[in-house]
């Protein structure tokens, strides 16, 4: 079942949690709502689930408008950030809850619950209480409890937020496989871009109650629509530039031209250019005129890329550069050396042209 929302607005007092948000999630897709805290992603999820009522706007499941329908009648599976397992019930009773309130015969309840428990390999925990489970186990029980009544939509609020890094990474992959098997339309909320990119078919990036951009992980990463998205997707160098006659110029005298596509001329001024660390190269010779001189401040060769921090004193900039290990070995860089930094690509978000 597809989900769509139209022109949703929600205020809490004077705080605008959602500002005229519209979104479509096609049947069977796994969609991530990504954004910093306070961006409205959880509010959006709760409105879709019926746990929150929007001030204005509409929610559709397939073609039915269900904006004013109770969460009880929406047939959604909702997984809470802190699991919200019924603490006085055993694992078995927790999973059975959604079936029992629907008056499903006890024999069918038993079959379904045991089938789901087998699926997550927790059959032997059936008679345990939630407090006797680990975080990862609780999360899996919360998920199958939500799936037990066979919902048409699965909604997860920061599903892995409370888990430690290793369990988290494993559950991520597991959720993806789980989704591929059940094919239920799924929306999940996260503030971790890595998580969103790894699991989701499509990513919706939110900020200040608005959608900044939506698309596949690749689209969003390769072609960020706004400066916020560029910044939020992590680890980017921000350089103040002037835009003049279709050129992005760095420095007071405009000594370095960045390879960015720009159209206009920035009024009296300054605008930020963004360069990802892997879009910068280091060279021993000033190959072209468009390079910055800098001193290597820090080298971190541990990892699949070598992280170099370079101070470009002429511009007062600290730049992060990612090199491949091969490139690093070829250059034989040392801390404290003066090198030349060559920007291979850059991005400028001009206010007038960012449509």
């Amino acid at each position: 079942m597809s989900i769509s929302v139209q022109n949703l607005t929600k205020r809490f007092g004077t705080f605008v949690a959602l500002d005229n948000v519209s979104l479509v999630c096609p049947t069977g897709q796994l969609l991530a709502l990504l954004g910093p805290s306070g961006s409205g992603k959880t509010t959006l999820l709760r409105i879709i689930a019926g746990l929150e009522i929007p001030d204005s706007g509409a929610v559709y499941y397939h073609d039915d408008e269900i904006t004013s329908r109770s969460a009880r009648d929406r047939n959604v599976g909702f997984v809470f950030q802190h699991y919200a397992l019924f603490r006085h019930m055993t694992v078995y009773d927790n999973v059975a809850f959604g079936l029992r309130v629907r008056k499903v015969p006890e024999r069918q309840v038993r079959e379904r619950v045991m089938e789901l428990l087998r699926l997550v390999r927790l059959e032997e925990k059936a008679q345990h209480y939630p407090s006797e489970l680990s975080g990862g186990q609780k999360q899996r029980i919360a998920l199958i409890r939500a799936l037990a009544p066979d919902p048409k939509v699965l909604l997860l609020d920061e599903p892995f937020g409370a888990l430690d890094a290793k369990v988290r990474a494993e559950l991520r992959l597991w959720l993806r496989r789980f989704h591929d098997e059940f094919q239920v339309t799924t929306i999940f909320v996260t503030h971790d871009q890595e998580e969103a990119f790894e699991v989701a078919d499509r990513v919706v990036i939110m900020n200040h109650g608005r959608i900044e951009q939506e698309g596949t992980p690749l689209e969003v990463f390769e072609h960020p629509a706004t400066a916020f998205v560029m910044d939020f997707l992590g680890n980017v160098n921000k350089l103040p530039v002037r835009v003049e006659g279709g050129k992005a110029l760095l420095g007071e005298t405009g000594s370095v031209e960045l390879p960015a596509r720009v159209f206009g001329t920035s009024e009296n001024g300054r605008i930020d250019a963004y360069i990802r660390p892997h879009e910068l190269d280091i060279s021993r010779n000033p190959d072209s005129s468009n390079c910055l001189t800098g001193k290597i401040v820090h080298l971190n060769p541990a990892g699949s890329v070598v992280k170099v921090r370079v101070l470009a004193e002429d511009f007062g900039l600290m730049l992060n550069v990612d090199l491949t290990p091969e490139r690093y070995r070829a250059l034989a860089l040392k801390s404290g050396e003066t090198v030349f930094i060559i920007p291979k690509a850059a991005k400028v978000f001009e206010p007038d042209y960012s449509i």
Partner: protein
């Protein structure tokens, strides 16, 4: 300290290390505990106060009541129809007041813990009013409210309803005085529990009744029982407010505490003590029930540390989530 001792015995350390460790623990104990005289003074003060104010009067009540033997004791309680009636009346009034308070307490706690609305803080403060207002004043205000010159009195009279000096007046006064007990027990409990489990039940398709009976009530049952017990103890012993609104009609509106006072005023202290002992006995039974329930409550809770650890031994054996699934 104890676990340290055990470690010392279990691990074959060199004698020297043991001794220095012993010295260390001794020094630690000296640093973290108060001097002997402080402890002695505090302990004896507590014992003295408890003895003089609680234990001796309690024993004295039963001693006086049973001085003339069990047969006389029984006669004092059961022979006088007014005394018998007072016992029955208390056993009627207290449970009804408790029931009213359970309903009010649940509603108030639900409202305060689950909703944000203007005047919420005021409501919480108002729930406490019966604790701070003298019961006599409360009783008087009901007289003014339901009396012939009062606010509701004339119109109720016109409908042929008398409140003042009847059993309903006793119930109203008792309910007022005991109003905070259940609500105050439940509000912090429900705020700590949070709404998530109820919302989870809702999204799983449960209706309001199902959520209340299957999720909310099991979670608050021990707090609720505790509130009921406290409320009941207070309701049975209430004197001031009840005394004012009852009109003290023997055999009709005299509850046990009122009857005890009446007997005492009539220089019938053996009978007064006998009835007082019954009241005390009810209080002691309530107390025992409370302690028993507290014990059961703690037993039912699994140890928190167990659930809190990120990986239980079982999980380590199974391997973690991702690896074990199809």
């Amino acid at each position: 300290m104890k676990s340290e001792m055990i470690t010392q015995e279990a691990v074959p350390w060199p004698r020297e290390a043991c001794r220095s460790n012993g010295k260390l623990s001794h020094a630690l104990r000296r640093q973290t505990q108060d001097p002997l005289w402080v402890r002695l003074v505090l302990i004896s003060l507590t014992v003295l106060l408890m003895g003089v104010l609680v234990v001796i009067p309690l024993i004295h009540v039963f001693y006086e009541a049973l001085r003339d033997g069990l047969v006389t004791y029984g006669r004092y309680i059961l022979a006088d129809p007014d005394t018998r009636h007072s016992i029955v009346l208390t056993l009627i009034v207290a449970p009804i007041a408790v029931l009213c308070n359970v309903l009010f307490g649940l509603a108030a706690a639900w409202l305060v813990a689950r909703f944000r609305f203007p005047g919420r803080t005021l409501l919480v403060a108002m729930i406490d009013i019966p604790l701070s207002v003298s019961p006599v004043v409360a009783g008087l205000s009901f007289v003014l409210l339901f009396g012939m010159q009062g606010f509701f009195g004339p119109s109720l009279r016109a409908m042929g309803i008398d409140i003042l000096f009847t059993v309903p007046a006793l119930i109203i006064a008792t309910t007022f005085v005991t109003l905070p007990y259940v609500a105050r027990e439940l509000i912090p409990l429900m705020e700590t529990l949070g709404p998530d489990e109820e919302l989870a039940a809702l999204s799983l398709g449960a209706n309001g009744w199902q959520i209340f009976w299957r999720v909310t009530l099991p979670n608050i049952q021990w707090g609720l029982l505790y509130g009921i017990i406290l409320c009941n103890a207070r309701a049975m012993g209430e004197f001031g407010a009840v005394s004012v609104v009852s009109g003290r009609i023997p055999g009709e509106t005299m509850t046990m505490p009122l009857q005890v006072e009446l007997l005492f005023q009539d220089y019938n202290s053996p009978a007064a003590f006998a009835l007082a002992s019954v009241l005390t006995l009810l209080a002691v039974i309530t107390l025992i029930l409370k302690v028993y329930l507290e014990g059961r409550h703690h037993l039912r809770r699994p140890p928190p540390a167990w659930g809190a650890s990120p990986t239980t031994p079982q999980e380590k054996i199974n391997g973690t989530a991702g690896g074990t699934l199809p």
